[in-house]
């Protein structure tokens, strides 16, 4: 396996081998999951196999995270530059872009050409949607880079989940406003994921459009100009989805609606768990403090990180947004989720369970230590939450 040589500050020469190097291919093949179900359905005639990727995602993945456990190792700082420049890792992110198109088209072809029961059809649309949600993760990794190729690939892959505004919204909006009440993509204590979705999905689109409109106005162009990067990606979405409609008929209307909603729901779930309740404080001039490592929830669970391009090492990502996935680091004493993202989503989808586990973890964080003034709280629940913790005596204010 390829290794990197470097010299430590004390003069010691080291040789570093990234043991996960080839395991990152899991992030590339994982989006092909609909084909496992399709193949088994074709072999056995049992439609239930079409739902297998849902079972893999939300039952097998959390179990694998639990069984395989966590990895807190970091590459030595001295090899980071070599690791970042190694083309192997970035080529993986390029290869997965066409695979997202293949997955959606393949699932649509099967749904459009087989006589499926209503639940087999619906299940396959959900599977296609959660798979395209992974395309937002691919677009996320690519969209944070400076090269024109990677940014173009980000816009292309975001056409699959019809989320072309994400690249602008996330990089220029979310990273700037993260863990503040102003950020539609940071969830608040006491805010259920269902309420959050209604704030996040339209809020993110509005913010992206405003940022892009401002940029185009500075260039003397209309917001509807062909240079609008949101419209560029969305145009490709229209071509793709209208193409599927023409190829496979009216059945594609319900199929694509379900697909799109579940793709967006994947991102909503990720955004919900990544910054729940965390708050950047304001300085004496009223400016928010810089985003600190304790402003993101993290997970070091090995398996889910390997299928998500290391997205769960989220604090380092916010500290250094351009850092490539293979180089993201763990730090001690960071806010930690109870499971990888897939297991955490399950918890988030049942709000009373989520509050029970996460509100306690949130208030126990060292920088909060029970002080509700240091928490991003849902305004409508504010009074109720203060009352609850004042009575229980576990909050200092």
């Amino acid at each position: 396996m390829k290794g990197y040589t470097a010299t430590l500050p004390d003069g010691e020469a080291i040789y570093y081998v990234d043991r996960k190097r080839y395991l990152w291919t899991l992030s590339v093949i994982y989006p092909l999951q609909p084909f496992i179900g399709i193949w088994l359905h074709a072999e056995t005639g049992n439609e239930a196999w079409l739902l297998l990727p849902i079972f893999l995602g939300y039952v097998v993945n959390p179990i694998l995270d639990w069984v395989i456990g966590e990895d807190t190792n970091n590459p030595p700082e001295e090899v980071i530059l070599q690791l970042d420049r190694d083309p192997f890792y970035r080529v993986l992110t390029y290869i997965v872009v066409p695979l997202h198109f293949v997955s959606l088209i393949g699932a649509a072809w099967w749904a459009g050409t087989q006589s499926l029961s209503w639940w087999g059809f619906l299940g396959l649309a959900v599977v296609a949607g959660i798979t395209s949600g992974l395309g937002i993760n691919t677009g996320h990794e690519l969209g944070h880079k400076k090269s024109k190729l990677e940014r173009t690939l980000a816009k292309i892959v975001l056409a699959v989940p019809v989320y072309g505004h994400f690249w602008i919204e996330h990089n220029r909006g979310h990273h700037r406003d993260v863990s503040t009440p102003e950020d539609p993509a940071s969830s608040r204590m006491g805010e259920s994921i269902y309420r959050f979705a209604r704030r996040e999905i339209p809020g993110a689109f509005r913010r992206a459009w405003a940022i892009e409109k401002d940029r185009l106005e500075r260039r003397g162009k209309s917001a509807w100009d062909t240079n609008n990067q949101i419209l560029q990606s969305m145009s490709l979405s229209v071509v793709l989805q209208v193409g599927l409609l023409l190829a496979f008929g009216w059945k594609m209307i319900p199929f694509l609606i379900v697909h799109n909603v579940f793709a967006w729901w994947q991102l909503t779930s990720a955004n919900y768990v990544e910054h729940y309740g965390l708050l950047r404080l304001k300085d004496e001039k009223g400016r928010y403090e810089r985003c600190q490592p304790h402003h993101s929830w993290n997970s070091n669970h090995i398996f889910s990180n390997l299928v998500l391009f290391h997205l769960e090492r989220h604090s380092d990502h916010h500290a250094h947004p351009l850092r490539r996935y293979q180089s993201l680091r763990h730090f001690d004493n960071l806010p930690s989720l109870p499971s990888g993202y897939f297991g955490s989503y399950l918890l988030a989808w049942v709000p009373p369970l989520w509050y029970r586990v996460m509100d306690k973890a949130l208030l126990a964080l060292p920088h909060i230590d029970g002080d509700l003034d240091k928490v991003n709280i849902e305004p409508e629940k504010r009074e109720m939450i203060f009352k609850k913790y004042a009575e229980s005596g576990s909050a200092s204010s």
């Binding site: 220029r172 940029r215 500075r218 003397g220 810089r290 250094h320 351009l322």
Partner: protein, 53 residues
């Protein structure tokens, strides 16, 4: 005319060249960028954080 660099990601604003993509014409002084100017590449450093080269 001067250059200003983002201390986080290395993005450099060159006053001579401006930044066409962002809509800042060549010759636009760094001081004339909006007060809430965030680094176009990383968005986590702001106008006041930039280093003059």
């Amino acid at each position: 005319m001067s250059e200003y660099r983002c201390p986080e990601c290395g993005y450099t604003y060159d006053e001579d060249k401006g930044d066409e993509h962002e809509g800042y014409a060549p010759g636009t002084a760094f001081s004339r960028l909006p007060d809430d100017f965030a680094c176009p590449d990383c968005s986590v450093r702001f106008k006041g954080d930039f280093d003059k080269l």
